[in-house]
């Protein structure tokens, strides 16, 4: 009836898709710059250091992509769940438990050929992650518990379980620090040098898992937009009533989407453990599961966007650590502040910029013609 009166252009289209995150990032950086300035350092010098540390050198790029790999896995995990209408806050815990799966295979079979061990370790990571996601998914689908709450709780449970296992069960004999012994040679992801990058990234932990992450992104895209199951997930995510109307069981979709989500998160250990640390260590996901929420948000839950924003967050992470080395007044927490600002602007305050940008995009071509 009075529909016309409430017309509001909420669709994100055209250039806004690209401009919106860029504008948000610029504002986040500007505010961060102001904070750096308040700390008594030059924002320009800080920005230069960050860029140098993250994207201007081969070492920087290697580390950036290495961190980005973790964020692609967790970002995809959050994104696929979100497409099916589920807000998975538990990627951190799923990554942690998934890493346990990969690590156990690596510890048990590390002496065998990588052709056998690596596929098994990757599969184990995915299965462990999926299993950890299954419990809250089932509770939501069949018992109505809210998945945001349960996945958060499962992060804590995962952390407790892993601490217990590493301190009491898996700790290497005669060791003080809570970590396992090193994996055998068969359980090491091929480093960048082994797959045709020469020794450009030799000083960095970049490894084949980055390729695996890109492959996962492509498969997720195909699954969501090119299969009937992905279609059903999107229907459930957009309109659960229409889903029931179409004969789709929303509960089953929630469970399936969470299984895939958990499996993707569970692959983090492939990069972090098999690719870099070569042992299961305490707290190895290091918050990547939470960064994944921001990555998915900024990437609009689309695989391409997730990869792009994962690389951005990887650069922030790497550039930030570089910054804290070279600028003593700026510590690592500053990176967290910048990330927080990006999340705030991309997520919570997205629509603040949305309307003006749409407006600009509509005017601009007209003016250019006139």
């Amino acid at each position: 009836m009075a529909k016309l009166g409430h017309r509001r252009d909420d669709t994100v289209n055209g250039w806004t898709v690209v401009l919106l995150p860029v504008a948000n990032l610029v504002i986040a950086l500007a505010i961060s710059g102001a904070i750096v300035w308040l700390l008594g350092e030059s924002p320009w010098a800080a920005l230069k250091l960050m860029l140098n540390g993250s994207v201007a050198t081969a070492d920087g790029i290697g580390y950036t992509l290495y961190y980005a790999t973790n964020f692609i896995f967790t970002g995809l995990a959050v994104a696929v769940a979100y497409r099916a209408g589920v807000f998975n806050i538990g990627a951190e815990g799923q990554a942690y438990i998934g890493g346990l799966g990969s690590g156990l295979v690596a510890l048990a079979l590390g002496q065998h050929s990588p052709w056998i061990v690596l596929p098994l370790a990757i599969a184990a990571g995915a299965i462990f992650g999926a299993a950890w996601a299954f419990i809250p998914a089932w509770l939501q689908a069949r018992r109505g518990s809210h998945i945001v709450i349960t996945t958060v709780m499962f992060n804590f449970i995962a952390a407790a379980v892993m601490t217990h296992l590493l301190v009491n069960v898996l700790i290497a004999p005669g060791q003080q620090s809570p970590e396992t012994r090193e994996f055998g040679p068969g359980a090491v992801m091929p480093p960048a040098s082994a797959i045709g990058f020469g020794d450009r990234f030799a000083a960095t932990p970049l490894n084949l898992a980055f390729g695996l992450a890109l492959l996962a992104a492509a498969l997720v895209w195909f699954w969501i937009w090119r299969t009937r199951w992905g279609y059903a997930w999107r229907v459930v995510g957009q309109n659960p009533v229409a889903a029931r109307y179409a004969g789709i069981d929303p509960g089953r979709v929630v469970i399936a989407a969470m299984l895939l989500s958990g499996a993707l998160a569970g692959c983090l250990g492939v990069n972090e453990l098999l690719g870099s640390q070569h042992r299961i260590a305490l707290e190895f996901p290091a918050g990547a599961g939470f960064v994944g929420i921001a990555v998915a948000l900024m990437g609009r839950n689309h695989p391409v966007g997730v990869v792009a924003s994962a690389i951005l967050f990887g650069a922030l992470y790497q550039g930030g650590s570089q910054l804290s080395f070279d600028m003593p007044k700026v510590n690592r927490d500053m990176v967290v502040v910048i990330q927080g600002l990006v999340i705030l602007l991309c997520g919570a305050m997205e629509h603040v910029l949305h309307q003006p940008l749409n407006w600009v995009c509509r005017r601009w071509p007209r003016k250019a013609v006139a």
Partner: protein, 516 residues
């Protein structure tokens, strides 16, 4: 007095040369409307013709881009509904603006309480409302909770509210949509009484018989502009319909007698409870055969929605039996998808909430519910080319405008959205078709096409169960008519013996004596 009020009298409400634009949509174009004092003025037009916009301007919800509003000979600028109420204009919306768990009295004084305590105002209101109730046949129990009143009663509370605020001009937006024919008659009596007392009434509707029954003058709008304004006595429904649509329309549904075949849908002693355990459908039994249209009439909310959803497999049933094409679907545990596979198609009552995914394109909506079938998907992989081709063909075939498969579904008008849903459900060659409110929110021009298609499906040997709150539609389409009241089948009528009167009595829950 009405039809030919003296031209010299000052009109109660006058809208002069109103222009209103929303973005690129010109909702009102140079619209002028004169409502004579002491008259009932009808305003008709298709969806999107600009009626609601115009009335929202008169009620201060929108401000016109250009144009003037005159109330009782004085120019007014209405910046808000409060200003409109102060100027003596009140509006009764289609969806009532009432607090269900307040009493009638409390609802009426809501917003005009005045003073620190309610006591004085309540006493004064009670006296005035009692008087108003007597004068206008508006009796409602003042101490009853509004939520417990029947819909017709709630509507009377809205009107009382307006009169209590000393409104001289009453705008009613589709007031009969939720009423039984008897309640509608009562409303019309009330409106005539109000008119005779000197109030002015604007009746916004799309039902031509109502215009003919109760208005003095009628204004027809099309595409944002006024195309006609005539004394009601000097026009006829067909003429008004043509003015609304802009071309000749057939008001009758052409069809031959049905030749019913084997029973395809059988419902036995069906009982349904909602989430809160309240019984919504009680002991309902009926059969729909191949080659017939069974109409399900009833005031909205008497169990029709729950019944449709249960048959479609969207909601569980409490007890009873549903047989679909020879299968006991409940006992065999066939879910919605499997019932579709048996040949069930379903056009849901609430299109936007249930029938489409509003963020999807037209083509993606055209495979909703059929995403696992050829040609849409093979081995689980969506066949994008085939989907696009089928969609383009269907949109053309069903005269959906524009025939753009990639356009988001929400960008289509209501009538075209409905055509898309109907195209999807009809074209998968169903055996049983459940149709809820086939023409809700659909323009007169498109209604004709939809009715023709439903009859064609019947003639092709499909079994159709049509749920509608539009009695004309039920009477025109159905071969047999079931009337629901309070979750039960209140009666069954053959098309030949059904009249609006008889259906109306059954809808109101009054036993039909003549029914054998």
């Amino acid at each position: 007095m009405p039809a030919d009020a003296p031209a010299s009298a000052v009109p109660a409400l006058e809208l002069r040369h109103i222009d209103k634009r929303f973005g690129t949509v010109q909702a009102n174009r140079d619209v002028s409307l004169v409502v004579a004092a002491g008259s009932i003025h009808g305003l008709i037009g298709e969806n999107g013709a600009g009626k609601s916009t115009l009335m929202n301007i008169a009620y201060g919800v929108h401000e016109p881009d250009t144009g003037e509003i005159w109330v009782a000979g004085q120019r007014r600028v209405l910046g808000s509904p409060a200003a409109a109420i102060a100027a003596g204009i009140a509006m009764v919306h289609q969806h009532f603006m009432l607090v269900p768990n307040f009493t009638v009295l409390e609802n009426v004084i809501l917003g005009v309480e005045g003073g620190l305590t309610l006591r004085a105002r309540l006493r004064e209101a009670r006296e005035r409302l009692a008087a108003l109730g007597r004068d206008y046949e508006l009796d409602v129990p003042l101490d009853a909770l509004v939520g417990e009143l029947p819909v017709g009663g709630q509507q009377r509370v809205e009107i009382l509210k307006a009169l209590y605020r000393r409104a001289q001009i009453l705008i009613l937006d589709e007031p009969t949509a939720v009423l039984t024919p008897q309640e509608t008659q009562r409303l019309f009596r009330m409106l005539r009484r109000l008119r005779d007392e000197g109030k002015s009434i604007v009746l916004v509707t799309h039902k031509l018989p109502e215009i003919m029954a109760v208005t003095d003058r009628v204004t027809v709008m099309r595409q944002g502009a006024v195309v006609d304004e005539v004394p009601t006595a000097q026009t006829a429904p067909r003429q008004l319909a043509e003015r609304m649509v802009g071309r000749p329309v057939s008001m009758r549904i052409e069809k031959t007698p049905a030749i019913p075949g084997e029973p395809l849908l059988e419902v036995r002693q069906l009982g349904i409870r909602d989430d809160r355990g309240i019984e919504r459908v009680r002991d309902v039994s009926f059969t729909v055969r191949a080659g017939e249209i069974v109409g399900l009439a009833g005031v909205a909310g008497n169990g029709q929605t729950e019944l449709l959803e249960a048959i479609a497999g969207m909601a569980p049933i409490d007890r009873g039996e549903i047989r679909l094409c020879g299968h006991d679907v409940v006992r065999e545990g066939l879910d919605g998808a499997k019932r579709r596979a048996l040949g069930l198609a379903h056009v849901p009552e609430d299109r936007l909430r249930t029938g489409v995914v509003s963020s999807f394109s037209a083509e993606d909506n055209l495979l909703l519910g059929y995403q696992d079938r050829a040609p849409f998907s093979r081995h689980g992989i969506l066949q994008r080319t085939a989907i696009r081709e089928v969609a383009a063909a269907r949109l053309r075939e069903h005269d959906v405008r524009p025939a753009a498969p990639t356009m988001p579904i929400v960008a289509f008008s209501g009538g075209n959205q409905q055509k898309i849903v109907l195209a999807r459900e009809m074209d998968m060659n169903p055996r049983v078709l459940l149709v809820g409110q086939p023409t809700r929110g659909v323009d007169i021009g498109a209604i004709e096409a939809i009715h023709r298609r439903l009859v064609a499906l019947r003639d092709a040997g499909k079994a159709l169960l049509v749920v509608s709150v539009e009695l004309d539609e039920i009477l025109g389409l159905s071969d047999r008519i079931l009337v629901m009241h309070d979750g039960k089948i209140a009666g069954e009528l053959r098309a030949e013996e059904a009249t609006e009167e008889r259906i109306g009595r059954l809808m109101a829950g009054v036993a039909d004596k003549t029914h054998g």
